[in-house]
Assembly symmetry: C2
Homo-oligomer: 286 residues x 2
Amino acid sequence: MAELWKGAAVNAVLNERLRSEVETLRSCGVTPQLAIVRMGERPDDIAYERGAIKRCESIGVKVCCHTLPADADEAALLAVIDRVNRDVEIHGCLLLRPLPPQIDDTRVRNALLPEKDVDGITDQSLAGVFTGGGVGFPPCTAEACLTILDHFGYALQGRRAVVIGRSLVVGKPVAMLLLARHATVTVCHTRTQDMPAITREADLLIVAAGKPRIIDAPYFGQGQVVIDVGIHVDETGALCGDVDFAAAEPLVKAITPVPGGVGTVTTSVLVQHVIEAARRQQPSGK
Amino acid sequence: MAELWKGAAVNAVLNERLRSEVETLRSCGVTPQLAIVRMGERPDDIAYERGAIKRCESIGVKVCCHTLPADADEAALLAVIDRVNRDVEIHGCLLLRPLPPQIDDTRVRNALLPEKDVDGITDQSLAGVFTGGGVGFPPCTAEACLTILDHFGYALQGRRAVVIGRSLVVGKPVAMLLLARHATVTVCHTRTQDMPAITREADLLIVAAGKPRIIDAPYFGQGQVVIDVGIHVDETGALCGDVDFAAAEPLVKAITPVPGGVGTVTTSVLVQHVIEAARRQQPSGK
């Protein structure tokens, strides 16, 4: 029976600390504020937005939402980002993506001020993740994986970590974060040959494959820790991850559930970044 | 007996193409020009500079050298970079590093215009390597590894590549370039446990460990391709790589020699980047 590494346990500790940091900032007259920018009405975006608003409110972080129609043009979106950039009361901005096809993703994400980029979408933030430099924040989902491992006392140095997926939202940044923490890191993807032979050798398996329950019994080895980044609605309407939980659970040492795993910690990491951004944006901040 | 994948064979083809590209640019009135900026008199820097000048001249690329004393201050170095940035006749700049301790490396490398950054040192270039985006150039040494593999017809898709080393000059960028070419990539480093067990499983081994002949017999597997990025002077005064060549040669399928391997192709890739930068900087370039 695997240990269940639940997001709630991580959040209980993390959110308590975040509440106390917000109190300290408020005592200096600063209320951290997040802007959420959304185009259209994609149910995923709306669900994530709703979760973020609720978490921010419970921690004492203000939220303002900017919603544009799905067919708005790039100029309209850039105007919103410009307003966010210039508003000194807004410390962080979450831009829900993917953006509609009429929008140039690269131009828009790099229009955001790097210091307000709390989800690691600008080139400057991504360069920071790659170089290990100090500017900006990593993508929240990638950092959430590390936050969970740290909470449960999992030491990374010298461990063999295998990451399934090479996206800029999870796969590549989480690989860089693991490498910075001295893990030996392998990145697998759709073109990988005989992936189960590789993943079975891992001490730590981070799954961001993007397909429901695609990682099943042959992929797991004894004593592994499995972090499941996926979230999908299956054919019965239930939520599930990229991992076939029932197949993994008897084999591995520990696993994050879906729902209630990485996703909920991601929201806390987002709030943490907003608070940290607010702190850095104060005249005495650093 | 391993095949010897020599840089000279790669350069014979590559430099022929580069000469023809220079001719085309000259016919439009453009002579590609590289600025080399060096602080102090480190023998490694001087040797690399001399090689670059010679290669540029043989291909028809102009070079101008800016040399500062090792104890010059940051303002003096930034003034040189500013001159390079503003000179429309200079298309690329090679800044020899590491810089002396009184210089802030991050500030200086990001002072260079990204479009003149022919050795992938700015955050914008590195972000491009990480994201797979179009801006800038990868570090020349990292790209040279891929250039050699391509020349000898080594298909990367689905291959297991192991990179030893996680520097920003080779290890991390070459891992990203291999990943973009659909290899399954593992990055090992000094904290890796039982590295030979990992490297023996590789189809392709890229060695940028930074220590003379440190990768020896236990690390190699049958049929591997080994790219040796290191270059050192051994105790007898001879040049050697990170790989113990005598140990590798009977085991592997192919190996790059030192000297005469990656280093000489790196110089050609530098010239290639200067020519490409010159092309992009023309009004009709793209």
